[in-house]
């Protein structure tokens, strides 16, 4: 099935954005890549957009709102929870405590970002490929 909704990427590291955007564009050519520097801007977008994002991919540690807090707020927002947009952590560094906390928030995967561009591409390919095969409400054309 063709997936065309945007990928919402939240990461406050501009260098990461520079590296990851072309990788994601090559892996998911039908999904616009929307980068946000912080969780506040991302949740404002998610609450107001009519678009149906394919995936949300987030760092854990960011200035102001952390990725974990962002996930918590999505879970507490009745409308956003109902939309069930797959939420994935893609982060470096990663700690045991974060993984445990993240899975308490019923996420769709937690990945420790690798150091080389080649490995990062392999990780993102696996994520996009898996979610292209899974069913979630944003995959449907009609409400």
């Amino acid at each position: 099935m063709e997936v065309g909704g945007p990928i919402v990427f939240i990461d406050d590291d501009e260098e990461d954005q520079f590296i990851l955007k072309p990788i994601l564009e090559s892996i998911a050519p039908n999904s616009p890549i929307l980068f946000f520097n912080n969780g506040e801007k991302a949740i404002d977008f998610l609450r107001t957009t009519d678009e149906r994002p394919f995936l949300i991919i987030s760092e854990v540690i960011m200035k102001n709102m952390s990725g974990l807090e962002l996930r918590r707020q999505i879970e507490q927002d009745k409308e956003l929870k109902k939309r069930s947009i797959p939420f994935i952590f893609f982060t470096h560094p990663a700690y045991k405590q974060w993984v445990e906390e993240a899975y308490e928030l019923t996420i769709q995967g937690f990945f420790e970002k690798k150091s080389s561009t080649k490995e990062i591409k392999q990780q993102l390919e696996a994520i996009v490929s898996y979610w292209t095969n899974c069913l979630h409400p944003n995959r449907f054309d009609d409400e």
């Binding site: 929870k81 109902k82 069930s84 797959p86 990663a94 700690y95 045991k96 993984v99 445990e100 899975y103 308490e104 019923t106 996420i107 769709q108 995967g109 937690f110 990945f111 420790e112 990780q123 696996a126 994520i127 490929s129 898996y130 979610w131 095969n133 899974c134 069913l135 979630h136 409400p137 995959r139 449907f140």
Partner: protein, 144 residues
């Protein structure tokens, strides 16, 4: 640090043919991984209530089963302190958006339409095992 413990997967599904094929495919790919099959979710609930079940690394749960059905089991799993963090994959013959939405709202980690052919089932086992048990960090098996 990678833990040496064998990976354990629970398959909660009342279709014996499907379970046998999953067992064979998984054994070919990962002979060292342990699959536990629960054709009747009541038996699993009994084990859990006696606190004698070994917590797995991944749960693959069929949605359409005799009572308690998959959605009831999912609610039970996601309300249970020990099981809640375990990635729980719903596998269902239903491709209804309503079913998928209800499962995600109940805490499912992913939802996949049950493979209809042997080839699709092989693909499902390969990508699901790879995504959740090889690449992702999970609470039971972290490479941190």
């Amino acid at each position: 640090m990678l833990m040496a413990r064998r990976r354990r997967i629970w398959i909660i599904d009342d279709n014996p043919d499907y379970c046998n094929v999953v067992k064979r495919i998984s054994a070919d790919k990962r002979p060292d991984w342990e699959l536990e099959f629960f054709p009747d979710s009541r038996k699993l609930l009994d084990l859990l209530e006696k606190d004698v079940a070994m917590v797995p690394d991944l749960i693959v749960l069929d949605l359409i089963m005799p009572e308690p059905d998959g959605i009831k089991m999912l609610h039970y799993i996601k309300r249970n302190r020990q099981l809640r963090p375990i990635p729980t994959i719903i596998v269902s013959e239903s491709d209804s958006d309503t079913d998928a939405s209800l499962c995600y709202q109940a805490g499912a980690n992913s939802y996949i339409v049950k493979p209809a052919s042997l080839e699709e089932l092989r693909h499902f086992v390969a990508v699901t095992w790879q995504y959740w048990l090889d690449i992702a960090a999970t609470p039971s098996h972290q490479r941190l």
